[in-house]
């Protein structure tokens, strides 16, 4: 499992224009399982500084800014391929990508499938229901079977946080997290960052406001990691019962945790002021059933994004939503389809981003080791 390359150095070079061989860094073996009291050895990013040695895409927390840039740049190249008449390249020919979704999702699964197919890979879709299989045993056995079938990439979505970490520790194939419980959704965040970049240019210093059910949102968590790495200023706002633990106005979050460096504001009007990007999160019906909210009507009244509220943001601010939308609840129909909304573009950018991610991962297995 451990791969090492000779450490080399590369001088400063202009972006994307150099034929100079790339920076290759040592990839340390996975951290020793547990040593109490001993600080974890300083490990270089798994992506190995663009050497294609990244094994998995589980969340954006272990991506460097350079890696994120790399993917955003490649997505431009992939978008060009998608604009051609012949939307197919032989890049991943002979590679097998398996999508294993334990939660329904048409758009994300189709997005991954298209991404793989445009790049020439074989894509197999497996749909499983977490409740219809006996607990535990089945996930492990399923994974072992897949391992035996020699797949190259496993794209998985599962209702339990941490499931792809468990799977990645058991199989050799690259694992791409298409959403795990309430924990992470890295490719969604990458496409969010890409969308922002296409409209606003450099993300550093931009004000991004995320409104809604942050506690249960894996998209928000990954977005915050990505935005922090890219230097954006993040503000969040939502009902007090739906804020992540410890995130109250005025509190400081542990440096190493999710939502570090994020500003918390209780009134949505204040949160929207001067924002360059407004991200409305989906509010789920379950929240009113489980007692987090009295009902959705009140949520909409206090936090719903409508044209009046959107006007508080910067002129030309982007309105984003991870989808699917509950029009009339967290977002009004008129702004959802209005000039500032880039929601459909988020979806189409998703294919290009996922192509870039798959390309990056498969380059590893094609690597000259």
């Amino acid at each position: 499992m451990a791969r090492t390359r000779a450490a080399t150095t590369t001088p400063e070079r202009p972006q994307g224009q150099s034929d100079n061989p790339e920076n290759e860094t040592v990839q340390a073996p996975p951290a020793p399982r547990r040593k109490p009291g001993q600080a974890r050895p300083n490990q270089p990013p798994m992506f190995g500084g663009l050497s294609g040695s990244r094994r998995n895409v589980l969340d954006l927390d272990d991506f460097s800014k350079e890696e994120i840039e790399h993917i955003l740049l490649s997505a431009d190249g992939m978008n060009e391929v998608l604009s051609r008449d012949v939307r197919k390249t032989p890049t991943l020919r002979g590679k097998t990508i398996l999508t294993l979704f334990f939660e329904n999702s048409t758009r994300t699964r189709v997005s991954f499938e298209q991404a793989g197919k445009v790049l020439g890979a074989d894509v197999i879709n497996v749909s499983a229901s977490a409740s219809s299989v006996s607990k535990g045993e089945s996930l492990l056995n399923t994974v072992r079977t897949l391992e035996a079938m020699k797949i190259d990439v496993l794209v998985m979505r599962h209702p339990h946080s941490g499931a792809p970490y468990f799977v990645a520790s058991k199989i050799d194939a690259a694992v791409v997290n298409a959403g795990d419980g309430t924990h992470a959704h890295p490719t969604q965040s990458l496409l969010d960052l890409y969308t922002m970049r296409r409209h606003l240019g450099d993300i550093a210093g931009k004000k991004v406001t995320i409104i809604g059910d942050l506690h249960f949102s894996r998209v928000a968590r990954s977005d915050v990691w990505g935005l922090r790495k890219m230097g954006a200023e993040v503000t969040v706002c939502g009902p007090p019962t739906l804020l992540p633990y410890g995130l109250r106005p005025g509190t400081e979050q542990d440096e190493s945790a999710a939502f570090t460096g994020v500003k918390v504001v209780d009134r949505v009007e204040e949160a929207l002021e001067g924002a360059d990007v407004v991200m409305a999160l989906r509010i789920q019906r379950e929240r009113q059933d489980s007692g987090n909210l009295p009902d959705l009507r009140e949520y909409s009244k206090l936090y719903g994004i409508n044209s009046e509220r959107l006007a508080l943001a910067s002129p030309g601010a982007l309105l984003m939503h991870p989808g699917p939308m509950n029009e009339g609840i967290e977002i009004s129909s008129d702004v959802a389809h209005g000039a500032q909304a880039v929601i459909e573009e988020q979806v189409s950018n998703g294919v290009a981003i996922r192509m870039a991610v798959l390309y990056m991962l498969c380059a590893r297995s094609r690597g000259g080791e």
Binding site: P30, A31, P32, R33, R34, K35, P36, G37, Q38, A39, R40, N42, N56, L58, D59, D61, D62, K135, G136, E137, L139, L140, H158, H160, S161, G162, A163, Y165, F166, A168, S169, D180, G181, T182, H183, A184, H215, R218, R221, W225, P244, Y245, G246, L247, Q253, D254, E255, S256, A257, A258, F259, T260
Partner: protein, 447 residues
């Protein structure tokens, strides 16, 4: 009957008798013969166990062990569980009733005790359920179970959630004079929580259990104990507020006792990251995160809670260490965190874990040994946990300074589920004797 044994040259610590000196311990005919005034006086004809440089103490007593038999033999059996106990230095263990069938009736209790006598490597006592099927609705026939030999009642695994049932249990149990051992966890607050509520749970996207789930029920039970006059024992006390509640209750002279587990005195919720308690630099998770071996009930708590539990042990608020040894089969843990069963297999690492605060200077070795010997013996009301002449020859020889690496594949327990795999503990059990026979020797396979 085997030869008489002299355990020579060790530092004998027997808190029940107030002994702490270099001495020889003489065992004959399965009972303790004497603790000599000074070492070097072993009579002829005695088999010698050299304990120079080591500590000699009464065999540990665990009042909270899950032996899984009958019904869950894939996780553990009485044979493997007692062998594991011996390796952990325990010569008396108490089988919790969450077996299949539950120990909520006399014949199951009798079966467990008989199997313990026939197949157990060390002494097995039994705990009866509080309610039928531990469902929290109807009390068991407590007198009947007391006659069968139970040492107390617990629905462990489950709390006695209904306050009125708890009240009746505390009242009715006085017929037997035995304690109600409650697993204090208010279900409606704990909800679907997977680990301690906090920043780490939020980071990992795992539902959190607030500490108040424990505190609320501890305070309730203390009030009920006061109301009813029953004997209350709090299982696996783990939070600061709850420790404080018990301290106040004792100050008021209430009949409340409490126990704490080896993991709650040594490791925290940070271990869920899979890095041996370290937090990942810059927060990036790796594939060792979501270590299901850390999933336990009550969950691993915060540093502050661990400090409070250690303080509680040091000042006697918490009377004893009880392992809550919870072995599971691999399939119960090789899955997502949410699917994983709760529990840590810890009876073989208990002493090592409990030595963490001793080495940190926050708990003395003598107090630790008291909490593992004299205190549980008092709780049981039995003549055990001491090297008084005439008591069973249950002895443990310890090396408090020996460093060793935890290797679950070498466990005698069927349960390999420990977050300590690959970590180093400082403090190990060298030899365990039960009724005058060696039942465990470090590094030696003993039948």
């Amino acid at each position: 009957m085997s030869k008489p044994i002299a355990i020579t040259g060790g530092r004998v610590i027997d808190p029940a008798q107030g002994i702490d000196r270099l001495a020889d311990v003489l065992l004959k005919d399965g009972v303790v013969q004497a603790v000599t005034d000074a070492p070097g006086n072993a009579p002829d004809g005695y088999e010698v166990i050299d304990a120079t440089g080591l500590v000699v103490a009464p065999g540990f007593i665990d009042i909270h062990t899950h032996l899984r038999e009958p019904g869950l033999e894939h996780k553990e059996t009485i044979a493997t569980g007692t062998r594991a106990a011996a390796a952990g230095g325990f010569t008396t263990i108490c089988a919790m009733p969450n077996t299949e069938p539950n120990q909520d009736n006399a014949s199951t209790v009798e079966w467990v005790l008989r199997t313990g006598r026939e197949q157990g490597v060390v002494r097995v006592l039994a705990i009866g359920a509080v309610t039928l099927e531990r469902a929290g609705k109807r009390l068991v026939e407590m007198a009947e179970l007391a006659d069968a030999g139970v040492i107390g009642f617990s629905d462990d695994g489950n709390p006695v959630a209904d306050p009125n049932i708890m009240r009746q249990a505390l009242t009715y149990s006085q017929v037997t004079g035995l304690p109600i051992i409650n697993h204090c966890e208010e279900p409606s607050i704990a909800g679907a929580g997977q680990m301690q509520m906090g920043v780490i749970a939020s980071h990992l996207g795992l539902a959190g259990v607030p500490s108040e789930a424990e505190t609320v029920m501890v305070e309730r039970d203390i009030a009920l104990a006061e109301l009813t006059g029953g004997r209350l024992h709090i299982a696996h006390l783990s939070t600061r507020r709850a420790v404080e509640a018990v301290r106040r209750a004792k100050e008021r002279g209430l009949r409340v006792t409490a126990e704490a587990t080896p993991h709650h005195v040594s490791i925290t919720d940070a271990w869920v990251y899979g890095l041996g308690g370290a937090t990942p630099d810059d927060g990036a998770l790796s594939t060792v995160a979501y270590d299901t071996n850390t999933k336990v009930n009550p969950p691993l708590r915060t540093n502050d809670d661990v400090d409070a539990v250690v303080e509680g042990l040091a000042d006697g608020t918490i009377d004893m260490i009880a392992t809550d040894h919870a072995p599971h089969a691999a399939t119960d843990k090789e899955c997502t965190y949410q699917e994983a069963a709760h529990g840590i297999s810890n009876i073989e690492t208990a002493f090592g874990s409990c030595m963490v605060p001793v080495h940190a200077g926050t708990l003395s070795l003598e107090d630790l040994i008291e909490r593992m010997t004299a205190a549980p013996a008092r709780f049981l009301g039995r003549e055990l946990g001491s090297l008084k002449p005439g008591l069973p020859a249950d002895v443990v020889v310890l090396d408090p300074a020996s460093e060793w690496t935890v290797d679950p594949s070498a466990f005698f327990s069927k349960g390999k589920n420990t977050p300590l795999a690959g970590t180093t503990l400082k403090g190990r059990v060298v030899t365990t004797l039960y009724a005058g026979e060696v039942v465990h020797e470090a590094g030696v396979a003993v039948e």
